[in-house]
Amino acid sequence: MSPWIGRALLASALLVYPHLASDFWIVSVGAYAMVLGIIALSLTFLTAYGGMISMAQMATAGAAGYALAIFSAHSASAGMALLPWPWAVGVAIAVGTLTGILIGIVAVRSHGIYMLMSTLAVAMIMFYLAQQNTTILHGFDGFSGVAVPRLGGVSLRGPLPFYYLCLAAAALLYALVIYLVRVPFGLVIQGIRDDPLRMASLGYRVWLHQVMAFAVAGFIAAVGGVLSLWYHGGISPGSIGITATVNVLIVAVIGGLGHPRGAFIGALVFVLIQNFAVDLVGSDRYNTLIGFVFLVIVIASPDGLTGLWRRLRGTRKDSLDGGVVTQKL
C-alpha cells in the first residue's frame, strides 16, 4: 500500500473538513490547533533534527505578534495602521526570525537541560519586558482589537478564509521542514545532533549551523505568531508568559518530539482537552487531566503519540525520524 494514498486521504479530509463542521470546530478547534501546531513545529524542528530544546519559541512567536500589533490598527490607535498590512507582516516575520537568531546565539553556548533553562530565562525576560514597557508594548494589557486584514472584501479572519490560511501556512511550513532536513544544511544539523565533535573535525562550523537552525525555528514561530495574533485579535504579556511557554512544550511532547507531524497531533489533542476537558471531567479540575495525560504520555512513550502509534504498529523508524530524542538531549 502506497503511503501516498493515506496522505491524499488526509489532505482531502483537511480540505473538506470545514464544509462539514460548525464555525467553532473550524476555527476554535481546527485553525487554532494548526496555529499552535506551527509554533510547536518550530520546537519540534529544533529537537528532532538539531537535538536542541528551546523554551523560547512562544516568546519568539510573541515577538512577531507584538511587532505586527504595533504596526496594525488596534483599539488604542484610533483605527490607524502604521504600515500597510503586507509590510507589517513582513516586518513581523523578520522580527521573529531575528529574535530566533539572537536566542540561538545565547542558547547554543550550552546544551541539553542547560539549554532548556537558558532559553526559559530568555523567554521570561521577554515576558517581563512586554509587561513592564508601557510606551511601545502597552504593558500589562497589551494590544486588543487588532484589525485583521481584508483581501478583496473578504476578512481573513472569517471562518473559512482563516482556516484555509492556517492550513496553507501549516502545510507549507511542514513541507519546508521536510525539505530542509534532506538538503545539505539539514544533514549537517542532524550530523551535529548525533556527533558535534565529528562534524567540527570535518570542518563544519557547528555554532553557525545551530544558530541557523534557530533562525529557521524563529521564522516558523514567527508565522505562528502572526496567525495567533489574528486569531486572538490581540496579544498581551500573558500570551508569552510561563503558562503559554510550558504549553508549547506540552503540545510538542504529547505529539512527539521526534517528528514534525507530532507538533500538529499534539496541538489537536491539546486544543481538544482544553476545550472539552470541562465537559469530560465535569468539574473544574481540567488542569489535573491535562497534567495526567501529559504524564502518562511521557512515561508510556518518550516519542509522544507519534512514537506510540509507531510502536503499536511495530514498524521501524522511518528515515526522517529523530528517534528517541529525549536521550540525545
Partner: protein
C-alpha cells in the same frame, strides 16, 4: 492500512457530527454562560463569582421570563487570550444567549472587542473594572452594571484630606492598568483639594519581596496609599508591619476586600481603622444588605465571613440579566434587541443601592467610603463612614473634559 485510516476518519467525522447535532437541537431554554477565573492568580475571586451566579439563579429558581435557564460555566486564568478562547467556546460551541463575565481588566477589554464580532448575543460584565472598557469605543452589546476601578475610589480622596487631615501622600501600587486606574480615582479628588502625591512607587507584577519599595517611602509622607492584588497585598502588609514603618495606610479597593481581610495573619492588627472605598461594603447597615449577607452565609457556609466585592459584581450582573429577561418575558428574538433595550433602561435595587446605566451602558452607582473595623466575632469588616450616591464614570466631570485628561498611566495624573 487503508481501512484503518478510513475508520479513523469516520470516527472523527462521527465525533464532529455528534457535537454539532447536540448543539443545533435548539432548546427553548435560555442559555447563560458564566466566565470567571478558577485558575491563575484570581482563583479566590473566581470561586466567589460562581457562588454569586449560583445564588442569583437559585433565587430565581433557574427561570426568567417564563423560560428555564441553563447555566454553563467556563474558567479562565486571568489572561485575555484564555478568556477569549473560553468566551468563544461559550458563544460558538455552547451557543449561550448571554455571557456573564469576565473577572479582570485585561480580560474585560478583550471580551468587549470580541462582543463587537458577536452582535447577536449580549455580554454582561462580571467584575472587570478597566476604565477604557466602556469609556472608549464601547461595544453596543456589552453592559457593565458595576462601577469601574476609578469610580470605586470616589469620596476617598476627600475623606482622607478632610477627615484624616493628610496633605502629603505616597503611593505604592501594582504596576499595571488597574493600579493606574485606582490611583487616578483617588488622586482626582485628593489633588483637586490641594493634596500632594509626593512619590509614586509602581511595583512590577510578580514582585514577591516589597521591602525595598517600602524603604523608598519618603518620611515626610503623612500616609501611604497602597493598591495591589490579592496575595501581593498580604505580602506587602506583612512586610510593612514587620519593617516598623509608622505611617498610616490608605487602602485601594482590592486591599480592603474580604479575600484579604479573611486571610489570617499578624498583619491584620495593622488594618483596623484604615480607610478605603468600594462599590460595596460589608458594613452596610441596611436591612436589604443584611438579608443579602445572611443568604450568602446560609448558602455558602464554607465561604468567606461575608460576601466579597467580586461576589457582589457577579451577583448584580446576574440579577440584571434576570430582571431584563423578566421584563421582555424571555423574548430574545430580533437578535435580542428588545432584551438589550430593557437592560439599558433598568433601574436595579441592589443590596448596595440602586444601579442604572449611562449612554455607554456603564453603571452609575453608589460608592462607599469605609474604615476597616473588627466585628464582635473577631473578623474584620469595612465599616461605612460615608456614602457617595450615584457616582458616574466621569466622576461628575463633563464627559469630554474627563476623556481629554487621558488614560490613567504611571504619570497621569500627577500632583507632586
Amino acid at each position: 492500512m487503508l481501512s484503518r485510516k478510513l475508520r479513523c476518519l469516520a470516527l472523527v467525522a462521527g465525533i464532529t457530527a455528534g457535537f454539532s447535532v447536540s448543539v443545533s437541537a435548539q432548546s427553548t431554554n435560555i442559555r447563560i454562560g458564566g466566565l470567571a477565573t478558577l485558575d491563575g492568580p484570581f482563583v479566590a475571586l473566581g470561586q466567589e463569582a460562581f457562588r454569586a451566579m449560583e445564588l442569583a439563579f437559585e433565587e430565581a429558581n433557574y427561570t426568567a421570563g417564563g423560560r428555564k435557564i441553563e447555566w454553563i460555566k467556563e474558567s479562565s486564568d486571568g489572561r485575555p487570550d484564555v478568556a477569549l478562547t473560553k468566551a468563544r467556546k461559550l458563544i460558538e460551541q455552547d451557543k449561550v444567549d448571554i455571557l456573564i463575565g469576565p473577572m479582570s481588566g485585561g480580560e474585560g477589554l478583550a471580551i468587549k472587542e470580541y462582543a463587537k464580532t458577536a452582535p447577536t448575543r449580549t455580554f454582561v460584565n462580571g467584575f472587570s473594572a478597566a476604565q477604557e472598557t466602556t469609556l472608549v469605543s464601547p461595544a453596543p452589546n456589552f453592559f457593565r452594571f458595576g462601577a469601574d476601578g476609578a469610580q470605586w475610589q470616589a469620596g476617598l480622596g476627600n475623606y482622607v484630606y478632610d477627615t484624616k487631615g493628610y496633605r502629603n501622600v505616597a503611593v505604592v501600587a501594582g504596576d499595571y492598568s488597574f493600579g493606574y486606574t485606582q490611583v487616578l480615582g483617588f488622586m482626582s479628588e485628593f489633588c483637586a483639594k490641594g493634596g500632594k502625591v509626593i512619590e509614586k512607587i509602581w511595583v512590577p507584577n510578580g514582585t514577591k519581596d516589597f521591602s525595598s519599595a517600602i524603604a523608598r517611602i519618603p518620611n515626610k509622607a503623612d500616609a501611604v496609599y497602597i493598591m495591589m492584588g490579592g496575595a501581593d497585598s498580604i505580602n506587602f502588609l506583612t512586610q510593612y508591619d514587620q519593617s516598623g514603618a509608622k505611617q498610616p495606610l490608605i487602602l485601594g479597593s482590592n486591599v480592603s476586600d474580604q479575600t484579604v481581610l479573611s486571610a489570617k495573619g499578624p498583619f491584620q492588627r495593622r488594618l483596623v481603622g484604615l480607610p478605603s472605598a468600594h462599590m460595596v461594603a460589608d458594613g452596610i447597615e441596611d436591612a436589604v444588605y443584611k438579608d443579602y449577607v445572611a443568604k450568602y452565609k446560609k448558602r455558602f457556609p464554607d465561604g468567606l465571613s461575608s460576601p466579597s466585592a467580586p461576589f457582589y459584581g457577579y451577583y448584580v450582573a446576574t440579577k440584571a440579566v434576570l430582571a431584563g429577561l423578566n421584563q421582555v418575558a424571555g423574548d430574545l428574538s430580533g437578535d435580542q434587541a428588545k432584551f438589550r433595550a430593557a437592560l439599558s433602561k433598568l433601574r436595579l435595587d441592589m443590596p448596595a443601592g440602586q444601579v442604572s446605566l449611562d449612554e455607554n451602558r456603564q453603571a452609575i452607582a453608589n460608592i462607599y467610603v469605609t474604615e476597616v473595623a473588627r466585628a464582635p466575632d473577631g473578623s474584620l469588616f469595612n465599616k461605612v463612614v460615608k456614602v457617595i450616591p450615584n457616582v458616574n464614570q466621569t466622576l461628575g466631570h463633563p464627559r469630554e473634559a474627563f476623556i481629554a485628561r487621558g488614560v490613567p498611566s504611571r504619570d497621569n495624573p500627577s500632583c507632586p
